[in-house]
């Protein structure tokens, strides 16, 4: 097992309002091949910003980023756009919190699932692309793939859309999948299904996953390692069992204490 992604000293600063606003400070992450790492922390702690930086989506002028994000020998923060683009969607994929708005409303599902194949592997012909899309859709649990292929996003439920997003993200067989609160907008049973799906993808394809969530119990179920963030800083990180079993930091303790415990009878 080797290190696939190495983030060191990531620092993100906004200059939207005339003065620097720090969103992320000294973020470090070593992602091993085939590993699932969780990032937890309160709202506004910089989880999404770190993830977006890794995915190469923070390219606005008013944002300064320092540090290094090493992937495949390239620093994703400084490499040229072409190199970055060749990774995006093919080697590094991301899914968002809002499955309702993350799909293009006027494009058919099949088209959207195939898009990254179309971009990164233009040599694959149409028929083969469709085959691969259907196969991927079946793999993420869309059993009616043949029909869904021709549908539009508004015809699907939130859970199905999130599966479509995962199918679209996974079709190029990326090495890293970043999931930013992929289950927050879904109900509890669907949440559990999506988490199972991510687990299955990780096991069968060896995809490394960065799983961002508010939900510590989901993180506990899914991740081997966890990073706890507060106000743009990492306050604690380590094996999930260790962090949740014997938290060192006060903030982590508070977070864990805040998990609602349900006692049913017994």
């Amino acid at each position: 097992m080797g290190v696939i992604l190495d983030v060191t000293d990531l620092h993100i600063e906004f200059h939207d309002h005339g003065f620097p606003e720090v969103a992320v400070e000294d973020f470090d992450l070593m992602l091993e091949e085939g590993e699932i790492v969780g990032i937890v922390g309160e709202s506004g702690s910089g989880k999404s910003m770190s993830a977006l930086a890794i995915a190469g989506l923070l390219s606005r002028h008013s944002i300064t980023k320092t540090g290094r994000i090493m992937f495949n020998g390239d620093d994703l923060l400084t490499c040229d756009r072409k190199t970055l683009r060749s990774y995006q969607g093919d080697e590094i994929s991301m899914i968002f919190q809002e499955p309702m708005t993350s799909l293009n409303p006027v494009k058919r599902i099949g088209w959207q699932v195939e898009e990254s194949l179309f971009i990164h592997h233009p040599d694959i012909d149409k028929k083969k692309r469709k085959e691969m899309a259907i196969e991927m859709m079946l793999a993420v649990g869309l059993s009616d793939a043949e029909n869904i292929y021709h549908m539009y996003p508004h015809e699907l439920s939130g859970g199905m859309r999130q599966r479509v997003m995962i199918a679209a993200a996974m079709i190029g067989n990326p090495k890293i999948l970043i999931a930013d609160e992929p289950t927050t907008a879904l109900d509890v049973t669907v949440q559990a299904q999506i988490v199972e799906l991510l687990k299955k993808i990780n096991k069968e394809r060896g995809t490394s996953i960065i799983f961002i969530s508010h939900d510590l119990s989901l993180v506990n179920q899914l991740c081997e390692r966890v990073i706890v963030m507060q106000k743009g800083n990492i306050v604690e990180s380590g094996a999930t069992e260790r962090v949740f079993g014997a938290p060192q930091d006060i903030y982590t303790k508070k977070l864990i204490a805040a998990i609602p415990k349900i006692d049913i009878g017994n």
């Binding site: 969607g89 093919d90 968002f96 708005t101 293009n104 898009e115």
Partner: protein, 274 residues
């Protein structure tokens, strides 16, 4: 396929705007298309003995001051007007969409500069702007078409820019970016299809404005040249006979009104389609 057609027709029948729009537009188009193959008289043929006749069986829209058949001339004139309006909208919509999409998507200094130029153009009424351009390029229907086309760019550019700006920050554009979609593909394949509804109704409205602008410019004498006249030119020629032979100016006027009305209704119908 047949099922789909029936469904569309049913939907059209349900909406009075769409219904009226389709009927009126079909009548106008029919007149233009038939005029390509057949007209009751040669539109330029003069007749000294039949000057300024009113409506009759022989001339269903009467004749003009040179004894030419007004109906034949209206048929021909609607073709000229229609083509100029179509060309105008095509140039305006094409260039406007291109400029609006690029400025909206990229923003920054490029957007800032381009939009100030567009704003400056927008500050003049398009007729005035076209008039200026015509006076530089000379008169004739090709010149007219291009000057009107250029004059129509700003309004399309603004509309498209606004829409692209709205789409640019949506989640689906972000996720497409994450898939490594290039800028060109993002703008034209991912974003533009999302604004085609807005674009379609602006094109119809633009078409109307173009018909009216063409009529206005021809009225001022800078449009198509005699003996082949557009509707606007006919109207301006007819005005001095307004009281002696009302049919001469009423008929082309009516056709202009119908053309504009038909497309307005269509535009409204499309807006309410969903």
């Amino acid at each position: 396929m047949r099922n789909k057609c029936a469904e569309v027709i049913k939907k059209i029948k349900k909406d009075p705007y769409m219904c009226a729009g389709v009927i009126i537009t079909v009548i106008i188009l029919l007149m233009i298309v038939v005029g390509l193959f057949w007209m009751p008289y040669e539109p330029t043929k003069m007749s000294a003995s039949e000057k300024l006749k009113g409506i009759s069986f022989k001339h269903i829209m009467g004749t003009d001051n040179m004894g030419r058949d007004v109906f034949s001339r209206v048929m021909y004139g609607s073709r000229v007007t229609f083509l100029i309006a179509l060309g105008t909208v095509f140039i305006g919509a094409f260039m406007g969409t291109l400029i609006g999409a690029l400025t909206g998507y990229y923003g920054g200094l490029f957007d800032e500069i381009t939009m100030r130029v567009i704003d400056a153009m927008f500050a003049f009424p398009s007729i005035l702007l076209a008039l200026v351009i015509v006076s530089v390029f000379g008169t004739g229907w090709i010149q007219l078409l291009f000057s009107l086309g250029i004059a129509f760019i700003p309004s399309f550019a603004r509309i498209v820019r606004g829409e692209v700006l709205r789409c640019r920050n949506t989640d689906y554009v972000e996720s497409a970016k994450l898939q490594g979609v290039s800028d060109v593909r993002m703008i034209f394949v991912h974003i533009l299809p999302n604004i085609k509804g807005v674009l379609a109704s602006s094109i119809l409205i633009g078409f109307n404005n173009a018909v009216l602008a063409e009529a206005g410019l021809s009225y001022l004498g800078v449009g198509s040249q005699p003996p082949y006249a557009s509707l606007g030119k006919m109207l301006s020629d007819a005005q001095q006979y307004m009281f002696t032979t009302p049919s001469y100016c009423l008929c082309p006027g009516l056709v202009i009104v119908l053309m504009v009305l038909g497309f307005s209704f269509l535009g409204e119908g499309i807006r309410r389609w969903e």
